[in-house]
């Protein structure tokens, strides 16, 4: 059955769907293809989560984040992660300033103090610097010199990493990975999309994305999404899905027991349900469906699971394992 467009006039939920569609189409003006990536990114942003974008260079990851900032009219900052990047470089630091009263320390905000933070090639920074992001990502706050400063709302970190160049990189620790709501794989464009991208760069007068909503509207959309009811069966399905990723779980499918080293954390269940709520409203529904959970599951789980040696040695890929796990869990 196709998604029904409800006729509830003037409701926040209907505006949600409208606004969502507007944002999507506005991003689409500057982003050729990558519909799935845009959708995941948008949902994560509305749900208030951080996103890890993984793809080879040149796929428009940075551009996508920049366009998103423009459409949402949110302050945007970009941090290029390098091995010599220090935590203070991103969080900010107290600097000595000369004032009329004399010298004094003043906190110089780092690039984290922005609503949208693009952490480009995050895996190139040392673990120490990566760890500096933890507090910002989870608590939307930064503590420098014993003083905790709140970050602006809405706040989210969009990190990118290159899966190919692994030399001189520092894989993100599990604790940090878990703080990303989604890990979105950015695929290489299709032939048609590639042609359109090429055309866009050589032609003048291409469409530019415009602002659709502001921070207030974004927070309102987030609040609306959080109120979406979830049927007990659907919620249970999401929880069973998370449990199915744990090899020690009694209900874990065979594939999990065989190839997974450790499963997803409770944050994964939270992430599944919060993103599903957003998707439900985006599709014009006021309730979460099993489909929403299934849609969100791969992006929510792929960075939270770790394959064991057997899986790696036998050339298994996380995507395949995830699909097997998802199909093994029934709706009941």
């Amino acid at each position: 059955m196709s998604e029904m467009n409800n006729g509830v006039k003037g409701s926040g939920a209907e505006r949600f769907a409208e606004q969502y569609e507007k944002i999507r189409s506005e991003i689409g003006k500057e982003m050729i293809g990558q519909q799935d990536v845009v959708e995941h990114l948008l949902m994560a942003v509305i749900a208030g989560g951080n996103v890890l974008l993984e793809g080879v260079p040149g796929l428009g990851k940075t551009h996508l984040v920049r366009v998103l900032g423009k459409v949402l009219n949110l302050p945007f900052s970009r941090i290029q992660f390098t091995p010599d990047l220090m935590p203070a470089d991103i969080t900010g630091t107290n600097i000595l300033v000369r004032t009329e009263e004399g010298n004094a320390f003043r906190f110089q905000e780092g690039p984290l103090f922005s609503s949208i933070v693009l952490a480009d090639e995050i895996n190139r920074a040392t673990p120490k610097t990566q760890a500096a992001l933890l507090e910002a990502m989870q608590e939307h706050a930064v503590t420098v010199a014993g003083e905790t400063r709140k970050l602006p709302e809405p706040y989210f970190v969009l990190a990118t990493q290159n899966p190919v160049e692994q030399e001189g990189t520092y894989p993100l620790p599990e604790a940090q990975l878990d703080r990303f709501l989604f890990k979105v794989l950015v695929p290489f464009p299709t032939l048609e999309e590639l042609g359109a991208i090429v055309d866009l760069t050589v032609k003048d007068g291409g469409q530019e994305a415009q602002q659709v909503i502001g921070a207030e509207e974004l927070l309102a959309m987030r609040a609306a999404a959080r109120s979406v009811p979830v049927a007990s069966a659907v919620q249970e399905y999401a929880l069973r899905l998370v449990l199915a990723t744990h090899p020690e779980s009694a209900d874990a499918p065979e594939v999990t027991k065989k190839y997974i080293r450790f499963g997803a954390s409770p944050r994964a269940a939270q992430a599944l349900l919060s993103v599903s709520r957003v998707r439900a409203l985006a599709k014009g529904r006021y309730n979460v469906a099993f489909d929403d959970i299934r849609f969100a599951a791969p992006a929510c789980l792929r960075h939270r699971l770790a394959m064991n040696f057997e899986a790696v040695s036998s050339g298994k890929e996380m995507e395949g394992l995830l699909q097997e796990i998802i199909s093994a869990v029934t709706e009941k």
Binding site: M4, V8, A233, A289, F290
Partner: protein
């Protein structure tokens, strides 16, 4: 609970009920065919009567019961909601049901959305669960059942014979009932009671009979009791005819004499008058006795096996089945072809008194001949109390005795066995002892007892 939602769920519930009915019928059919298959397998080892019925009844019963049970089971709101959601409503209905108590704006919107979706839902889309598995199983079972039904099974023939026996016994017992009712009118109250008791017990035993052997044993037992009863009746009649009784006794006696067999007895003129009244009375004394004998003929294994579905031949005493006593008085074996009391009725009883073969062709019935001709003659014994039942078949295979010299040799398993030939002298002795003992046991007057003794003394003298 939102009434709109419940109202919108009603068509869904109806559809679910219908689907359950179909599903139940499919599973019932499978179970029924499974049961029929099991019965057919059982029928390979044990005779089961009515094979088509036993194939059809479980199928029909299971199908109907399962379908009705499923259809009548109430459909829960939640079940209906899940069924509706399964048709692409994306969990709208189940969520609305669960959030029925919530007054939040989003829940109100959700309910409204669910109601609208339910109203737009085409309930035809709600399909019953896959019936492929049960129907395939049913098909498999059905084919096996059909094969087993059409496949020749010796146990089926056995069951058919059993069915035929049951029908014969039913018809026979009905006739015995009618005959007993007829006889009761002519009997004294105590004899009437005895006869009633006898027929009731016989019916019960026949009902419990598993095969013709059981039935024959029951019939034999009843026949013996009948003989005893008849001898008493005859004794009464003779006593009455002798004029030894009182005025009232004489009246009673003449009444009893009608039921008495005067053939070959020493009855006086009165008894002789009575004996001329009816050939029935002469041959079997009581109609019940004739009916018993007729049923015995009908129960003969061969006749049971060959009996048509509505067999009356056996009970009619139609000729042709058994080997009766031939014209020379040679012993026959097994069920006779006599008119009424075939099967050599009276075999194993006093041949003079009982005269079971009174209606045999040529008037050469046992017991009707002058005692002097009885010497060196042989009686064919059929007394279940003294024989082995498993040698009964030998009776039908017994070679007829061709001359009297050859009669000197006993054939078969021996004296008292079925088909065995016993010198008449010995049989006479046995009869005499048996009847004398019976006379002693029974509630008879001294004169009557004396009469029995005199009767055998007379016969002994004649020998």
């Amino acid at each position: 609970m939102d009434n709109r939602l419940l109202k919108a769920l009603r068509p869904v519930k109806r559809r679910v009920r219908r689907n359950r009915l179909l599903q139940g019928a499919a599973w019932g059919l499978t179970a029924g065919l499974g049961a029929a298959l099991i019965l057919r397998i059982v029928a390979l080892f044990t005779p089961v009567e009515g094979k088509w019925l036993w194939a059809a009844v479980p199928v029909a019963a299971f199908t109907l019961l399962s379908a009705a049970g499923n259809a009548l089971r109430p459909v829960a709101d939640r079940t209906a909601a899940q069924a509706a959601d399964g048709c692409g409503l994306k969990e709208r209905t189940i969520t609305a049901l669960e959030q029925a108590g919530s007054e939040s704006e989003i829940c109100a919107l959700q309910r409204e959305d669910a109601c609208r979706a339910l109203q737009e839902l085409e309930v035809r889309k709600i399909r019953p669960g896959s019936a492929r598995k049960p129907l395939l199983t049913a098909l498999g079972c059905g084919i096996l059942v059909l094969v087993l039904l059409l496949f020749p099974n010796p146990r089926d023939r056995e069951a058919e014979a059993r069915g035929a026996l049951r029908r014969i016994l039913k018809e026979g017992t009905e006739k015995i009932d009618r005959a007993a009712a007829e006889d009761e009118e002519r009997l004294k109250p105590e004899q009437r009671n005895e006869l009633r008791k006898l027929t009731e017990e016989l019916k019960r035993e026949l009902l419990d009979s598993r095969d013709e052997t059981d039935a024959l044993v029951a019939l034999d037992r009843a026949e013996q009791r009948m003989e005893q009863m008849e001898s008493r009746t005859a004794g009464d009649a003779l006593a009455a005819a002798d004029g030894t009784g009182t005025e009232s006794d004489a009246g009673e006696g003449s009444e009893e004499a009608e039921a008495a067999d005067g053939t070959g007895t020493t009855a006086d003129g009165k008894a002789a008058q009575v004996s001329g009244n009816s050939s029935d009375i002469r041959s079997g004394k009581l109609a019940t006795s004739n009916a018993l004998a007729a049923l015995k003929t009908a129960v003969n294994p061969a006749s049971v096996r060959n009996a048509p579905r509505t067999s009356t031949a056996g009970t009619q005493g139609e000729p042709g089945e058994g080997e009766g006593q031939d014209g020379q008085g040679n012993p026959g074996a097994g069920s006779g072809s006599g008119n009424q009391a075939a099967n050599g009725a009276g075999e194993g009883t006093t041949n003079l008194e009982q005269g079971g073969g009174g209606n045999l062709p040529g008037g050469l019935a046992k017991g009707n001949r002058d005692p002097k001709y009885k010497e060196a003659q042989y009686e064919t014994i059929y007394d279940p109390e003294r024989t082995e039942l498993d040698v009964r078949d030998e009776m039908t295979n017994q070679n007829r005795l061709e001359n009297e010299e050859s009669l000197q040799v006993e054939t078969g398993p021996g004296k008292g066995s079925l088909g065995g030939s016993v010198p008449w002298d010995e049989v006479f002795r046995e009869y005499e002892e048996t009847e004398t003992r019976s006379a002693e046991r029974e509630n008879l007057t001294t004169k009557e007892r004396q009469w029995v003794k005199d009767y055998y003394s007379l016969l002994t003298d004649q020998r």
